[in-house]
Point group: C2
C-alpha cells in the first residue's frame, strides 16, 4: 500500500500531533467533536521530511491524495476548488509538532483567479471583498512563495490608501482595489518574468512547498535553537476551507485564551477585530478590541465561543489558545492548542485547575516548568525607585503589560545592533515600532522589549512571553526614529545607548536604570502550594550554595534543606584580610612564619563560620576548604611587569620598584601555565601545611561557640580536588586530628563528617578507594566538565563553545546542562563504586548543574541524595526534582 500523506480532518485526532502537527491534530479533534471547523485536510510532517529527503520533491502519490481529499471537502462544502461559479477557497497553513508562533508561513485565499474571483464576488454579493481577497493572495503568494520583497506591494497599497479620505485599507474603493490587483500583477511579472498563476492547483502546491521550505527559514532555525526544538521534525501543512472575517461588520476574526495568559486568572482573554482577516490581528497592524467587546456586540456568538472554549479546556485539561473567525454571523473554530503563558499564569492555572478538580497534583507539577518558577522569582523594580522615577518625571510611557518582569538596559533600535552590543556583554532593551520574525535573533539576546505598536498577542508579546523576556507592547506614547536611532517622548530624547527600564508587569517604561528587588516569595500563595506538592513527591533534597549568612537565610526561605557548598575563599579575599593572606604566601617554605599569619586569620574565619552556623541552625552545612591557587590573591603578572618596566624607565621611585620586583618574583614563582590544573584544592592544603588546619580549627571553634549558645550545628568538611586516595587520607587524618583536638579543648562534641569533592575524572575512577576515607561525595560537575572535555571554562565559551553549539557539534553548552553522555558516565560510575564501598555514603552535587532541570533529572536517576544550587534556584529545583520523581516513578 502506498504511504498515506494526506489526512482529512475527521481522519485524525489529538494523539496524532507528531504526524499532523499540533494545529492539524487540534483541527481533527475539534472536527470529530462536532465543533464548527471549516472542512479541510492536513498534509503530514512525514511528507515534509520526504520532501527534503528527496531534494525538495513531493513524494509519489501525495498530490493525487490531496486532489482526492479536496473532492471530499468539495462534497462537504458544496463548493468546488477552481470553479468559476461556486469557488472553494482555501488557506495553506504551517503546523509543526509544537507551536512556533509566527516562525513559519501561511498563504490565504488560495484558489482565486480572474474566473473564481467573479464567482466569489457574486456569491458574496460584494465585489470589493473579492478584490480585497485577491490582492491579499497575490501579495502573500508573491512574498512568501516567490520571495518578492514585500515592500514593493506595500508601497502600492500605501499610495492607494494615501489617496483615500480615511487613509485606512477599509477606505479603499473597488476601483482602487482593482488597480492595486493590476499593479500587483505587474510587479509579480516584472520580478519573476512570469505571470501570477491562474491554475489553482499550482497555487496550492507552490504554497505547500513554501510552507515546507519555511521550516528551514532563518527565523525558524533561530527559534528552534533557542527553544531546543529538533530540526528533524518538519512541519505539516493544513488546507482549510477559507472562511472570511472580512465580509463586513457582521464578520470578524479573533484569538483568545481560555484563561488570562499573563496572570492566569480564569477569564476568557483575547482580542477581536471586526471585518478583518486573521493576519491583521497577529501582525498588530490594527489595534483590536478586547474579546469582552464581542460580548456586547454579538452576545450569542460570544456565548457560543465561550462555551466551546470551556469545553475544549475540559477536553484537553489545559488552558487553550484559540483562533476563530465569524463569517456573516457564523462562528468557525480555526485552531485550538495549549496556550503559551507567563510563568505566573502557568503556576496559577495549574494550581487553580487542581482546585477545580480538572487535573491532578502530579499533572499540575508537570505543567509548570522549573524555568517558570525561576522567572517568577526574578526581581521586580523597587516600588520606591518607581515612585521616585515618577516624581522625577522619568516615567516615559505606558503600554501593554505584554510579558511580565523588570528589565533595565541600553536602548537599541534594531536587532543587529542588539546582537552586537549583547555580544559585548552589555544589557540591552530592544525598542521597535513593532517586531517581525526577522527580529527574533535580536529579541532573544535583549533583556527586555519595548514596542510602539501592537497588542497582547502581537508578535513581540508572544515571543517575549515564550522567552521570559519582560515586554511592554503598544506604548504608543513613544515616537521612534529608526534613522536617528532614538525615540522621543515629548521633549525627552532617548538615544541609542541610553539606559531605560521596562516593567512588563504593569506596562510602564522609565528613563534610567531603576533598582530592582526580589519577589516576596511568602506572598506567592499558588507557588507555595505547588512547591508543597512538589515536596510531597520529590526524592532529591535541595541544598544551596551559600557563602554568607544572608545567602543562607535567603535559600532557607526558598526551601533549601542544607548548604551543599560553602566556599571559603571569599574569606581570604576580603580587603582587611588580604595583607595577611599575602604575608602568608610570602612566607613560602617557612612554616613557622606562615603560622603567625594563619593565627591572625583564624579569628576572622571563626566569625565567618559562626554566622553561617547560626543561619543554618542545625541543617547540614558543607564547607569546602580553600580551593583557588594562591596567585589569585596576588597582583597579576602582567600588571606588575608593566609597572616595573615603567618604574625602571622613569627611575623615579627605587623603593616602589624594589617592592614591585619582590612581588613579581613571588608571583613568578607561583605562576602557572594552566592554573585550572595547577596547585589548588587539596594540593594547597598538602603543600602549605597549616592552612587547612587553620580552617578546620576555625570551623570547629565556631561550631563549639554556637553550640554553647544553644544552636545546633552539622558541619561537613569537604576536601576539594582530590584525585588520589592518598591525598584524601593524608588531609583527612591531619584535619580530623585538629577537629578532635578543638572539641577536646572546648569540651563540646559536634556531629561532623569529612568528605571530598568528586571533580577530577580520576576521582570518579577510583571512587571505591575514596569512599574509604569519605563519608560523603559532592560532585563538582563544573570542574569535572572542564577536565572531561578538556575545556577551560574561562576560555572555551568565547573561543569555540558558542560556535560549537551553533554548529550543533554539541547539543548544548555542557557547563549549563550536564553532559550526561560523557561526564554523566563518570558521575554514575562514582555513585556506584562509592556506594559499593560505603553503602551509607552521602551523595550530592554542588556544581551549577545542581540548578538545571535536565541535570536534576539525571541526578535523580543516578540516585543522589541532594542537589545544591544558588539560593535563587532552590524553588525551581524543588519543582524539577518533583518532576524527575514523577517522570521516573
Amino acid at each position: 500500500m502506498a504511504n498515506k500523506w494526506v489526512y482529512l480532518f475527521h481522519e485524525g485526532n489529538r494523539t496524532m500531533g507528531e504526524l499532523l502537527g499540533g494545529k492539524g491534530a487540534g483541527l481533527a479533534e475539534m472536527t470529530n467533536a462536532g465543533l464548527p471547523v471549516p472542512p479541510g485536510f492536513t498534509i503530514t510532517t512525514e511528507t515534509c521530511l520526504a520532501y527534503f529527503a528527496s531534494g525538495n520533491k513531493f513524494p509519489e502519490g501525495m498530490q493525487e491524495q490531496a486532489r482526492q481529499a479536496m473532492k471530499a471537502v468539495e462534497k462537504e462544502t458544496g463548493k468546488r476548488f477552481g470553479d468559476a461559479e461556486n469557488p472553494l477557497l482555501v488557506s495553506v497553513r504551517s503546523g509543526a509538532r509544537v507551536s512556533m508562533p509566527g516562525m513559519m508561513e501561511t498563504v490565504l485565499n488560495v484558489g482565486l483567479n480572474p474566473q473564481t474571483l467573479q464567482g466569489l464576488a457574486k456569491l458574496a454579493g460584494n465585489e470589493r471583498f473579492a478584490y480585497d481577497s485577491y490582492r491579499r493572495l497575490i501579495s502573500m503568494f508573491g512574498r512568501i512563495v516567490k520571495d518578492i520583497d514585500g515592500a514593493l506591494f506595500d508601497e502600492v497599497l500605501e499610495a492607494a490608501k494615501a489617496k483615500t479620505e480615511g487613509k485606512r485599507d477599509t477606505d479603499l474603493s473597488v476601483e482602487a482595489l482593482k488597480e492595486i490587483v493590476e499593479e500587483y500583477k505587474v510587479i509579480y511579472q516584472r520580478e519573476l518574468g512570469e505571470p501570477f498563476p491562474d491554475d489553482v492547483w499550482e497555487q496550492l502546491f507552490q504554497a505547500t512547498e513554501a510552507v515546507f521550505r519555511s521550516w528551514f527559514g532563518n527565523k525558524a532555525i533561530v527559534y528552534r535553537r533557542h527553544n531546543k526544538i529538533s530540526d528533524d521534525w518538519g512541519t505539516a501543512v493544513n488546507i482549510n476551507t477559507m472562511v472570511f472575517g472580512n465580509m463586513g461588520d457582521d464578520s470578524g476574526t479573533g484569538v483568545a485564551f481560555t484563561r488570562n495568559p499573563n496572570t492566569g486568572e480564569s477569564v476568557l482573554f483575547g482580542e477581536y477585530l471586526i471585518n478583518a482577516q486573521g493576519e491583521d490581528v497577529v501582525a498588530g497592524i490594527r489595534t483590536p478590541l478586547a474579546i469582552a467587546e464581542l460580548k456586547k456586540n454579538s452576545p450569542e456568538i460570544y456565548e457560543q465561543f465561550y462555551n466551546l472554549g470551556k469545553m475544549l479546556e475540559g477536553h484537553y485539561k489545559d488552558m487553550q489558545d484559540l483562533e476563530f473567525t465569524v463569517e456573516r454571523g457564523k462562528l468557525y473554530m480555526l485552531q485550538t492548542r495549549s496556550g503559551k503563558r507567563t510563568a505566573r499564569a502557568a503556576v496559577k492555572i495549574a494550581v487553580d485547575q487542581v482546585n477545580e478538580g480538572l487535573i491532578t497534583k502530579e499533572q499540575a507539577l508537570m505543567r509548570v516548568t522549573a524555568e517558570n518558577v525561576e522567572v517568577l522569582l526574578h526581581p521586580s523594580f523597587e516600588p520606591a525607585a518607581k515612585e521616585a522615577a515618577i516624581k522625577e518625571g522619568k516615567l516615559l510611557a505606558h503600554g501593554l503589560n505584554a510579558s511580565p518582569g523588570a528589565a533595565t538596559g541600553k536602548a537599541v533600535f534594531d536587532a543587529e545592533r542588539a546582537a552586537e552590543m549583547a555580544g559585548k556583554g552589555e544589557d540591552v532593551i530592544l525598542v521597535r515600532p513593532e517586531t517581525s520574525p526577522e527580529d527574533v535573533g535580536g529579541m532573544l539576546v535583549s533583556k527586555g522589549l519595548l514596542t510602539q505598536h501592537g497588542g497582547a498577542t502581537s508578535h513581540a508579546a508572544v515571543v517575549a512571553r515564550g522567552s521570559n523576556l519582560p515586554c511592554v507592547a503598544g506604548a504608543e506614547g513613544i515616537l521612534i526614529n529608526n534613522e536617528l536611532r532614538q525615540f522621543t517622548v515629548g521633549d525627552i530624547v532617548v538615544k541609542e545607548g541610553d539606559m531605560i527600564s521596562v516593567d512588563g508587569s504593569d506596562g510602564t517604561v522609565y528613563l534610567g536604570a531603576l533598582a530592582t528587588m526580589d519577589v516576596d516569595f511568602q506572598h506567592e500563595a499558588e507557588l507555595a502550594s505547588l512547591l508543597e506538592w512538589a515536596d510531597e513527591v520529590r526524592r532529591l533534597q535541595i541544598y544551596m550554595n551559600a557563602d554568607y549568612p544572608r545567602d543562607a537565610e535567603r535559600g532557607i526561605a526558598f526551601g533549601a534543606q542544607g548548604i551543599g557548598l560553602c566556599r571559603t575563599e571569599h574569606m581570604f579575599f576580603e580587603a582587611e584580610r588580604r595583607p595577611i593572606v599575602v604575608g602568608m604566601i610570602m612566607a613560602r617554605g617557612d612554616d613557622a612564619k606562615r603560622k603567625t599569619y594563619l593565627d591572625q586569620l583564624l579569628p576572622f574565619q571563626r566569625v565567618d563560620f559562626e554566622g553561617i552556623f547560626e543561619a543554618m541552625n542545625g541543617l547540614p552545612t558543607t564547607i569546602r576548604l580553600l580551593d583557588p591557587p594562591m596567585h589569585e590573591f596576588l597582583p597579576s603578572r602582567e600588571s606588575l611587569i608593566e609597572e616595573i618596566t615603567e618604574l625602571r624607565c622613569t627611575g623615579s621611585d627605587p623603593k616602589a620598584l624594589a617592592d614591585k620586583e619582590k612581588m613579581l618574583e613571588l608571583v613568578e614563582s607561583l605562576w602557572e601555565a594552566n592554573p585550572m590544573m595547577g596547585q589548588r584544592g587539596c594540593r594547597v592544603g598538602i603543600m602549605m601545611p597549616g592552612v587547612t588546619e587553620m580552617q578546620v580549627r576555625a570551623i570547629f571553634e565556631a561550631g563549639c561557640n554556637v553550640v554553647r549558645r544553644g544552636i545546633k550545628v552539622a558541619p561537613e568538611i569537604m576536601i576539594p580536588l582530590v584525585g588520589h586516595v592518598n591525598e584524601l587520607k593524608l588531609q583527612r587524618e591531619a584535619l580530623e586530628a585538629v577537629a578532635k583536638q578543638v572539641m577536646e579543648e572546648q569540651g563540646v562534641q559536634i556531629p561532623y563528617k569529612f568528605g571530598t569533592m568528586i571533580e577530577v575524572p580520576r576521582a570518579a575512577l577510583v571512587a571505591d578507594q575514596l569512599a574509604e576515607y569519605a563519608e560523603f561525595f559532592s560532585f563538582g560537575t563544573n570542574d569535572m566538565t572542564q577536565m572531561t572535555f578538556g575545556y577551560s571554562r574561562d576560555d572555551a565559551e568565547e573561543k569555540f563553545l558558542r560556535a560549537y553549539v551553533e554548529k550543533k557539534i554539541l547539543p548544548h553548552n555542557p557547563f549549563q546542562s550536564l553532559d550526561q553522555e560523557g561526564v554523566g558516565q563518570l558521575v554514575a560510575m562514582a555513585v556506584e563504586r562509592g556506594r559499593a564501598a560505603r553503602p551509607d555514603i552521602e551523595l550530592g552535587v554542588c556544581g551549577e548543574h545542581g540548578g538545571d532541570p535536565d541535570s536534576i533529572d539525571f541526578f535523580h536517576r543516578v540516585g543522589l541524595k541532594y542537589v545544591s544550587c544558588s539560593p535563587f534556584r532552590v524553588a525551581a529545583a524543588r519543582l524539577a526534582a518533583a518532576q524527575a520523581a514523577i517522570r521516573h516513578k
Copy 2:
C-alpha cells in the same frame, strides 16, 4: 606454636629470600650445598617488621630462639660465644630481599670483651690481631649502634698511625693498639655516659637492633626510592661466625664476580686484599689486588674459589657476586648473590649464557632490563672530539672505568651542592675523594661521577653501575681540595662550575664539554641477537614518534615498524615559515585572506611530508594534524607588555610601538587562562577552516609524488583532541573530501586511514561512538594523564608532583609511567568500546608512556597493536614488549 623468628643457615634455602633476605637465603643455599660457609643463623625480615610494629621491640621469643641457634653454632664450631677460653666471635650483617649495597649496617667482631680478647689472642697466637679486632669492634659499634661521630675514633687512629714509620694501620704495634682501645673506650664513655658493654649478648642484640633501624636510615630510604624498593619489606640480620682475613699474610678477603660486571666477559673478576677484613675492600681505603693475583699467590685457593664460583653460577643460572675470606689458608664463602652489572654486561652475559646452554632465550630476555638497553644505546664521546681534547692537553686524568657511558657537566665537590645545582636544571659531575652512602642523594642527581680513590667495587662504582651513571673511579691523578671547591692536575685548576667530561667506558677525564655521539647499533652483536629473540616473542609492534626524516631513519635502524606520531607543528615553527603563519593568524575571521597564507605554506608542508614518506618507504605513517594553540606561534604577552611599556615611556619609536600594540592586541585576543584546555587540536581545525584542509592536501600531494617515484606510502591521518563524536565526524568528512580530491587530481590512489587521538577523558567514555568515524585510535596518554588527574604538566612537576612522589602520595610520576589504576581504566574502556564498535580498529599509544617498560606491560595486557616512542627508546621497547609477552603468556 610460637613464631619462628630465627633460622639456622641449614634450615633455609634460596627460595626463602623474602623471609631470610637475599644474603641469608644465599648463605643457606651454600651451606646446604656443602660450601665452606662459616656457621651462623638468620633473624628474619618478619622479625624486623614485628620490631617496628611494636615500637622498636623484639618480638616475644626471638631472643630465646637466637640463644638456641647460637648453641647450635657453638656445637658446630666447637667455640662458645662469650667464652674466655675459646671465644666464638660473630658478624652482624643486614640482608634485605634485594641487595642494597652499602645502604645498611654491619658490625664485625661481636663477642669481644676484655676476657674473650685474651682467648682470641691465645687461640690466634697473635695479640696484635686480637687488639686490632677489638678496636674495630668498639669503633664500629660506637658509630653504628650508638651514633657516635666516627671522626672521633678516626682521629685517634690517624694520630697513632702518624707515629709509625709506614703510616699504615698494619704498622701499628700491639702497644699502640692497646692504647687505641683504651682511648676508644674513653670516647665511648664520654659520649654516652656509659661504658662499652662487656656483655656479648648485649653487643649482639644491640647490633641487631641497629641493623633493623638502619632500614629507615636516610641513605637507605633514598636508595629505595630511587630503586623503587618498597619500604615495607624490612631487612633480615645474619649472624655469622667470624672468620678473619686479617690474621696475617696467609689470610685475606675479597669480592669477586663470576663474570666481568662491566663488559660481561666470561672471566672471574674481582679484588683481593691480603691481611684485611671485608670492610677494607668495600670502603676502598686500600687499593686491592686484582683477583688474578690470588692465582699467583695461592693457586689452590684460587682454584677452589674459581670452581665454587662456576658451581654457584650454574646453580643459580646467573652471574654471581661473591664475598670470601681466607683465614690462614682456608677459604670461607660469605656471600653469593646475583651480581649487579652494567647494561653492556647484562646483555652479553644473558646472550652468552643462552649460547652456553645455561639459560633459555626467554630467561635471557627477562634477565636484561629495558633500561639496560637504553643505557647501552646512550651516546659516547665522539672519537674526534676525544682526540682533539688530548691534543689540546685537556685529558686530565685516567682512572678506573667503573661504570660506562659518557657524561659532561659542571664540576661540584659535595652532594648538597650537586643537589642544589641539579635542582636548577644544571648538569653536574660530582667529584669526590671517595664516596660514602651519605653522598648517594647527590650522586643520583649528577650526570656522572669522578673519584680520586677507590676501585671497581668501591661504593662509588657500585652505586654508579646500579644507577647507570658514568663513573671514573680512583683517578689518583687529580688532587681534590674540598675547601677551595676545586681539584688540580698539575697546573690545571678545575673549580666548581667548570665543565668537565668523564668517560666511564675507558676511565678518562677531560676538561671542557666533549661532543657526544650515538652508539653504533649495528655493531652491538649481542644486543642484536637479544632483540631478535625479543621480536620472536613480542606481540606489540613498536612504532616511533618522529617528526623529521632523520628521526625516522634512526628509528628504523633501531627496529621501528612505523611512525605512531609525526607532529606537524614544527612545520609551522620553522623560521622562514613563521611570518606566513603569523599572517595567517592575523587574518582572523577573514577566510579568504587566511587562504592566501595557507597557499604559501602548502609547498613547505608537501616537501616535509615527502621526506617523511621516503624515509618510511611504505611503513605506516601516522600524521597528527596541527595541535598547539595559535598563540604559541606569536610573541608572549608578557614580553610585549614589557616592550610596549618601555616604548611608551621613552617615546622613541612610535612605529615600533604601533606594531607592538597591534601584535599585543592579537595576542590578547588569543590569550587563554588555561591554554592546555583551550583552542587547540581539532578545535583549531574546526574554528579556522582551511588549516587542516591544507595539511591534508600537502600529505596527499606529497604521497602522490612519492608514489610516482616508486616508493610506497601509508599515511594515517590523526585528528587530535577529539572529545565529541561530531568533532571527528565534521573534520573527517571535510578532510577525507580533500584527500579524495587530491588523489583524483593527481590520478594516484594511496591507501590511507583516518583516526583520532584518545586523549581527553571524554573520548574514552564515548569511544564506541568515535570508532564509527575512526579507523584507528592512538592514545595520547600525556594529555589524558593531565586531564584525568587535573595536572598541568608544565606546572605540576615543580609545584607539587615531585613532593607528591617524595611524600608517597603518588607511587610514581604518572607522566613517566602510566597511572594504570586511574588513567589505565580509561584506556581499557576505550579499547573495549572501540573494538566493540569496530572490531578491526587499529589501537596504539603515542604518549611518552609508549617507551616506559611498566606502561608497555600494561599496553600489552589491554591488547594494543603498537606502542610508539622516541627513536632512541625503540630498541628498549622491543625488549619490554617481549618481556610483557613472556610475563603474560
